[in-house]
């Protein structure tokens, strides 16, 4: 009979956890100073493939409404903001990231982690997600910020590559963004500075890519879902800065040491799985513990590639700053790739990272991620024979998480996986004797 250890309380106490807290604290303090003391100008952007390198070259302060929304959810204070948005006309069925952010934006913009500054520039990097366009259209209506839709053609060619026209179109638009930033900040682009920033992003991508390759080891030195999110905050908020790069140098060293010592995030690694879909931020710890008690470690995740896909070789190139920013936005992130490219990415993860199973976390808020995941399950179970579990909740709205139901589904899945392992072991034994 399969046995799951009783509730394992996970905690991550490595050096990077503390360093991340410190760096993100500094980042949020910068936002607060901008909001409250007028220090600097804020540029709003979205996470999936953005040109933060350009924004930093103008010393604009990048603000990410998605990060703010998820912080509200993690801190369990999102619901009143969501409800406030629903009161003025947003639907139960609209993305709750947007609703939490709109609720926050229309108030005093004070949160437990920062006061969010008003935008000077609302730069909608439309990279895959159509809700992005709506979201920033709304923020522009509610503020005086200048809205620019940076339109990134979706990956639709069978080659999975952007066309030369796609690249030209994006580079031309980046030049328009430069002009816009020059108008807003009153200064000319410092090209040498841009190249330095792009070089830092390139090196950061290199570190991150090496870190992610480490989870191919058994045991995996960290959980590529629950611990990756710790590293994703600096990857997105601090990419292109010296501190950001230092964080990843420390992280790589720490993870390499773990590999050498054979240490993983759990006392024992019994299952390796790939996970698809964003996390349930309001119940992150509860969700993690449901897997931890089975000794199940995520060795790869699609969510950790939403803002950039470095593990298959992409690096920002300081010798071609605009072209490489364009490549990042077009091709080298999860959200601008088509659904079948995602199937392929997951298939590679399962094979190259030696996973036993796929877990799909389907969230109502993000239909970019979730719409059609039933077909994905069909593909992985029927075509590839990979055990696949699909569970549903939300990234932001706490009303969609049912712990009891989630626990039942996860327990049943790992029980059957355990059973499968025993049978496999027995038949292998049988063959030997």
């Amino acid at each position: 009979m399969a046995q799951a250890a009783e509730a394992v309380k996970t905690s991550y106490q490595g050096q990077i956890h503390l360093l991340q807290k410190e760096l993100m604290g500094n980042y949020f303090n910068q936002l607060t100073r901008c909001a409250e003391q007028g220090e600097g100008k804020a540029a709003y952007m979205l996470i999936s493939g953005n040109p933060v390198e350009l924004i930093l070259a103008f010393d604009l302060i990048p603000v990410y409404p998605e990060i703010n929304a998820l912080q509200l959810a993690v801190k369990k204070v999102a619901l009143p903001f969501i409800q406030k948005a629903e009161e003025i006309g947003y639907s139960m069925d609209n993305c709750a990231y947007v609703k939490a952010d709109v609720g926050l934006f229309l108030g005093d913009r004070k949160t437990p982690f920062a006061t969010i500054p008003l935008p000077s520039l609302i730069l909608c990097n439309y990279v895959g997600c159509n809700v992005y366009l709506q979201w920033f259209e709304h923020l522009a209506e509610y503020s005086n910020g200048t809205l620019y839709n940076l339109d990134i053609p979706f990956m639709r060619d069978p080659s999975g590559k952007p066309s030369p026209e796609d690249v030209t179109y994006v580079v031309r638009q980046l030049e328009e963004v430069i002009e816009l930033c020059e108008r807003i900040t009153g200064k000319k682009l410092d090209y040498a500075k841009l190249k330095r920033i792009v070089a830092l992003s390139g090196e950061t991508g290199e570190m991150w890519s090496r870190i992610k390759a480490l989870t191919k080891h058994v045991p995996s030195p960290f959980d590529c879902y629950f611990d990756s999110v710790t590293m994703m905050a600096p990857l997105y908020c601090l990419r292109g800065t010296e501190e950001g790069l230092r964080f990843f140098e420390v992280a790589l060293k720490e993870m390499e040491e773990k590999v050498q010592m054979g240490i993983g995030p759990l006392p024992e690694e019994r299952f390796r799985f790939v996970i698809e879909g964003p996390p349930p931020w309001p119940y992150l710890r509860v969700f993690r513990d449901l897997f931890a008690k089975w000794g199940a470690v995520a060795v790869a995740s699609t969510y950790s590639t939403v803002g950039g896909l470095w593990e298959f070789g992409f690096r920002h190139d300081p010798n071609h700053p605009l072209e490489s920013i364009a490549a990042h936005m077009l091709e080298w992130n999860l959200t601008n790739r088509n659904f079948l490219q995602r199937y392929e990415q997951i298939r590679r993860y399962v094979e190259e990272w030696s996973a036993d199973a796929l877990v799909i976390h389907s969230v109502k808020s993000c239909r970019l991620f979730s719409a059609g995941q039933g077909d994905m399950r069909e593909y992985f179970t029927k075509e590839l024979g990979i055990p696949t579990l699909l569970v549903e909740s939300d990234i932001e709205d706490p009303r969609y998480f049912s712990e009891a139901q989630m626990k039942n589904r996860i327990d049943a899945f790992f029980e059957s996986l355990e059973h499968r392992k025993i049978l496999h072991a027995a038949s292998a034994e049988g063959r030997r004797t």
Binding site: A85, Y148, N338, S362
Partner: protein, 394 residues
């Protein structure tokens, strides 16, 4: 006393509309399959909402057909295991049509960057129906960049090349021009229907306009143009007395389409719908697309500079709610009915902005949600009746 001739004309309209209604309600795709049987070697391309540059398909000698969901006579048996409960009806019903073999007459299908579920549906189609040529158009969402026309022209050239291959013939500029000319004509005639509705809504109902427009997504263009001319002539003969109804503008149904019974019921409940956004992609331009010069570029330029506003197009040049308010003012409507498809994120997000602006402008509105698969209309009808009464007697 009506002139006998006028009665006959009206009968002409009624016959036309009831014949088309039957087609739409019973088995809309049968005649497409029939057409294909009668035109051996010809190809049929399905167009998912909202807008497709159908001229390119037509110019290749192929038949563009609107695949606009499965309506309320299709049972969903397979597709809801592929797409979750929180995904809109049209995504699931379109997949269901494919999974149950009802799209067997298609050679290709074209999807666009209108929303997240539609985009993933394109991939799911590709995987499940490898025999179909699935195209995906990424329409520009940057309406101010001087480079967007270049970009979209390139997108259209790729589409053209791909259809040339499928059709086994080249599309010359003159082919494309003559298709544009015919579609200009069709769109002009549809605009004419809408003009009659706006000016004398008692002479042409929303349901009639809808049926006359919708049938055009299923039959050859030339045939549709003939029908529209007939219908316009008949409508021109009508001289009905206006009823005591409120005048409204309807917004929010640009993709998934409400059942005919609902369209009919809304007006019967006491309003004249002076304008709507049903089948919006099939009447995407308010002026003719120019014929002189590079026709591919003209199509692209028209998309950027001449197309109507929509929940799936994000034009930073002017706030979307301003367009709605302008429409209300221009038509002389006194209220707005928002009829949004359940789970349609673009429509639902737009509503949040519309509602705030309508309240600011003091324009009354009614918010309704529908699903194409709905069968019971009493609730919607009661809500409209209550709304109308509150407007008429307050």
């Amino acid at each position: 006393m009506e002139e006998p001739q006028s009665r006959e004309k009206n009968l002409g309209m009624e016959n036309l509309v009831s014949r088309y209604r039957e087609v739409l309600e019973d088995s809309p795709f049968d005649q497409v399959a029939e057409w294909k049987k009668n035109h051996p070697g010809s190809k049929v391309i399905g167009c998912y909402p909202v807008y497709t540059p159908v001229e390119i398909i037509h110019a290749a000698g192929m038949l563009p057909v609107g695949i606009i969901g499965g309506g309320n006579r299709l049972e969903i048996a397979y597709a809801d295991s592929r797409f979750q409960s929180f995904v809109c009806s049209i995504v699931k019903s379109t997949l269901e049509l494919g999974l149950t073999g009802k799209l067997h007459f298609l050679d290709g299908m074209v999807f666009h960057s209108i929303c997240d579920p539609a985009r993933n549906l394109a991939s799911v189609f590709k995987r499940n129906f490898p025999q179909l040529q699935v195209e995906y158009i990424h329409f520009p969402q940057n309406m101010v960049s001087p480079h967007n026309v270049n970009y979209l022209s390139a997108e259209y050239r790729k589409l053209k090349a791909s259809y040339e291959q499928l059709a086994g013939r080249t599309i010359t500029d003159d082919d494309l021009r003559s298709s544009i000319r015919l579609y200009n004509e069709q769109r002009k005639l549809i605009r004419e229907l809408y003009r009659i509705r706006r000016e004398t809504p008692q002479n042409l109902s929303t349901l009639e306009t809808y049926i006359l427009t919708r049938i055009g997504t299923l039959i050859p263009l030339e045939e549709h143009i003939t029908s529209l001319r007939k219908a316009l002539e008949a409508a021109g003969q009508r001289d009905e007395k206006p009823k005591d109804r409120i005048k409204v503008v309807l917004e929010g149904s640009f993709c998934e389409q409400p059942p005919l019974e609902l369209v009919e019921g809304l007006e019967a409940a006491g309003c004249y719908i002076l304008d709507d956004d049903f089948l919006l992609g099939w009447r995407w331009f308010e002026q003719d697309i120019p014929l002189e010069g590079d026709p591919t570029r003209n199509l692209a330029r028209a998309y950027i500079h001449q197309s109507v506003y929509s929940g799936v197009k994000h034009d930073t040049r002017e706030p979307k709610s301003k367009h709605l308010i302008d429409k209300v003012k221009e038509t002389g409507a006194s209220a707005v009915v928002i009829l949004a498809a359940k789970f349609c994120e673009p429509a639902l997000f737009d509503y949040a902005l519309y509602r705030q602006t309508l309240e600011r402008e003091g324009i009354p509105h009614l918010y309704l949600e529908f699903e194409e698969k709905m069968w019971i209309f009493d609730k919607a009808r009661t809500e409209v009746e209550t709304f109308v009464e509150s407007m008429l007697f307050d």
